[in-house]
């Protein structure tokens, strides 16, 4: 039986490590401006954000009928609306700000930066 104090210390340490990692990943900017629109593991579109001169949007429809509207502007991309229940992909906002991809789990859609990010390197 471990003492409660030991548990508290171990869990606080775990939380601290996770917080540092979370902050580090938040500031890790992925290099490159080429974005892939991926659904079910298939790359639907590849867009070089540096070459976008005019804003446009397109709709991605998933196999089970859900749809996401993707908005592309010069240098940035986001999901502007979706008919999924949680709307997490819309709340995430612009992809260009962060290393992590914008993901819509219900429709198995992801907007991700191409190229090696820290997370890609870890997963091999």
């Amino acid at each position: 039986m471990l003492k409660t104090k030991t548990w508290v210390a171990a869990l606080v340490a775990l939380a601290a490590v996770l917080a540092v990692l979370a902050l580090a990943l938040r500031h890790a900017r992925a290099p490159g401006t080429v974005v892939e629109v991926v659904q079910d593991g298939v790359v639907l579109r590849t867009i070089d954000l540096a070459r976008v001169t005019e804003a446009y949007s397109f709709t991605v429809t998933s196999a089970d009928g859900g749809s996401n509207v993707v908005l592309v502007e010069p240098g940035r991309i986001r999901v502007s609306s979706a008919d999924c229940p949680d709307q997490i992909c819309v709340q995430r906002g612009w992809l260009s700000d962060q290393a992590a991809p914008v993901v819509c789990l219900p429709h198995r859609l992801a907007l991700r930066l191409r190229g090696e990010t820290a997370a890609d390197a870890v997963a091999g």
């Binding site: 869990l11 990692l21 870890v122």
Partner: protein, 167 residues
């Protein structure tokens, strides 16, 4: 036997109610897969009061029926892998925790649930970039698990002293 079955069914129903009510609440943080996980209260409680076998039954019934009620069979895979990893962790924790440390089981169970979800998501989406969410997801799991674990701990303590109510 009948009593055992009734008790498990009652707890499953409670877990499903918590699960359904929670699904109606707006999500506080925009991290894919992050939830409060109120149904975890029931899992932790059952683990410490009813034992592993009944808990597994309650967990599986809740995961399957929850996916049916929510109408999202896709999430079944995530809740199932998360739930089973969480269950495995709790199997160990129930042996080494005292009644006043049940909250630890909530925290570590939730962390394992998050890990299991992430593993399933990686297998399905094959997008390694999802790992960038992992630390933030696990942190939110720890916070949510602390809350649900404490709830379960209070529940165990109170219901132990309650007369004429042997749930």
């Amino acid at each position: 036997m009948t009593k055992r079955l009734t008790r498990a069914a009652l707890l499953t129903a409670l877990a499903l109610i918590l699960f359904t009510v929670e699904a109606q609440l707006p999500r506080p943080i925009p991290i894919p897969g992050a939830r409060l996980g109120l149904a975890n209260i029931i899992t932790v409680y059952a683990m410490f009061r009813l034992g592993p076998r009944d808990t597994l039954g309650i967990l599986l019934a809740r995961v399957f029926l929850g996916a049916v009620f929510a109408g999202a069979m896709m999430t079944l895979l995530f809740s199932l892998s998360g739930g089973l990893l969480c269950y495995a962790a709790m199997l160990v924790l129930r042996r080494i925790l005292t009644d006043r440390q049940i909250w630890v089981c909530g925290v570590l169970g939730a962390v394992c649930h998050g890990l299991g979800q992430m593993l399933a998501a990686l297998a399905v989406y094959r997008t390694a970039g999802l790992l960038a969410y992992l630390p933030a997801l696990l942190l939110s799991c720890m916070a949510a698990g602390l809350f649900t674990g404490l709830c379960a701990q209070f529940l165990v303590a109170r219901l132990k002293n309650a007369k004429g109510l042997s749930l």
